[in-house]
Every structure is written in structure tokens, then in C-alpha cells.
């Protein structure tokens, strides 16, 4: 079941690029792609699994947070789940803005925040079919017991219905 930010289908990058507004002078598109190697071992595919209902909320919050941090930026995110082959996009983050400073910075912020806070996991699959769930080396924001979404609910600055 596809949500607003998660999809089980291939990501339509052309549709992302069509989102620029007339006022936008800069369009920044980050695409995460499955690559063929990790830690010296060959990867043939990556399996992405998500806590989908929570990931939808957290991705909405990434968009809201980045937009708040970079006024004037339009942010759109799509993350794919399921089994993806080498070369297939796993995530697309679009930021459009009047100027490039905002677009570049907001796009970078969005992917870094996504990686810290969104409940999505990946398993790198080797040629023999084996594969381990990837565990990042440094602790994430999620491990602090609070995420931007939780902060929002305790922060009167934003109400939940303001989330995109």
C-alpha cells in the first residue's frame, strides 16, 4: 500500500523534476541509488523494510522541519521499500527554491535528517542470497528517545495538523 512518502513501486524521477514553480530558480534533486558494493563485498540487491505508518509521520516531519529551517524551499520526498536491484533509486528528495544556496542546503539537510530519524531498515543481499541488516556505526537521533515528531507534539510552535 503506497503512502504519501513511501512507495512499493519504482520512483518516478521525471515527475519530481516537474514540480518546480515559476518562482524557482534552483531545483536540487538528490537520488539515493542501490550500489553494487558494500564493505568490500558485492551487493546484488537491497531489501528495504519500513515501519510504514511511523515512517510516513517521520517523513512528513522531515519535510516540515526542513521547510521551517529553509523558508522558501519546497521539499518533496519519496522512499521506496521492498527489494531493489543495483542501479535502482531507493530515495528521491527534491528541493526547489528561488536560489541555489537554499536548494542545496535544504536538500542536504533532508537526507541527513531522514537517515537519522526515519524507521526504515536495509539488508544488503550478496550474490549467494545471504544478507545482513545494516547497522550504522554512529547512534541516530532516534536512539536519543525523541525525534523531531515527538518534539513537535510538545512544541506549541507547530500543531500536528500543520504537517504536510
Amino acid at each position: 500500500m503506497n503512502g504519501k512518502y513511501l512507495t512499493h513501486d519504482p520512483i518516478d524521477l521525471a515527475a519530481f523534476l516537474a514540480e518546480a514553480r515559476p518562482s524557482d530558480g534552483a531545483v536540487c534533486l538528490f537520488v539515493g541509488v542501490v550500489r553494487n558494493e558494500s564493505e568490500g563485498e558485492e551487493t546484488v540487491a537491497i531489501e528495504y523494510q519500513a515501519y510504514e505508518e511511523m515512517a510516513e509521520l517521520e517523513l512528513a516531519h522531515v519535510v516540515a522541519s526542513v521547510s521551517h529551517e529553509w523558508p522558501g524551499a519546497f521539499v518533496r520526498i519519496c522512499h521506496r521499500v521492498g527489494r531493489l536491484s543495483v542501479g535502482e533509486p531507493s530515495v528521491a528528495i527534491l528541493v526547489t527554491a528561488p536560489h541555489r544556496d537554499t536548494a542545496f542546503a535544504a536538500c542536504r539537510l533532508a537526507i541527513e535528517w531522514l537517515k537519522e530519524t526515519v524507521p526504515i531498515w536495509k539488508r544488503e543481499i550478496r550474490p549467494d542470497g545471504s544478507g545482513e541488516w545494516v547497522e550504522p556505526k554512529s547512534p541516530s537521533l532516534l536512539s536519543e528517545g525523541r525525534t523531531p515528531l515527538s518534539d513537535t507534539l510538545f512544541n506549541p510552535k507547530w500543531r500536528q495538523e500543520d504537517l504536510p
Binding site: 505508518e53 524507521p119 550504522p136
Partner: protein, 81 residues
Amino acid sequence: MKVRILYFASFRDAAGRPEEVREVPPGTRISDLWEILAREIPAFGRFPRMPPAAVNRLSTVAFHTLEDGDEVAYLPPVAGG
């Protein structure tokens, strides 16, 4: 009271199932429930303390007291993007 526990990634492999419904006494904290599960699932024992967790899709703290009908998820280190 009943809580629904969701498992993901390495925790799902260790538990052998994507989810379960568990009966717990009132006053059970999310950390107490983890200790119960860790006694049953050996792989969970490698975490000296409770991993990050969410109740009803909001990340929370160890002393969060559970309520009837809560949806609980213990979260392995995230790796999206």
C-alpha cells in the same frame, strides 16, 4: 491489558514473526516489556538496555507506561536512504 508488538528487520528475524499481541499487567513500562521479551528471545539479550522504541508511532522513553491497546515497536538502528 493487551498490547500489540511490532518487530522489524533484525528483531523480526530474531523473534521469528512480524508482530504479536501480548497480555501485560497494568503499570508495565516499555522497558519492563523489553526485559520480558529479552528473556524469551536470546538475540535481544545483546542489548544491555532497551533499544529505541515507539508507542503508537511516536518515539518514547524507557519509563513510558503502557496502556491497553497500545502499539509498541522496538527499533533496531535505522538505515534508510
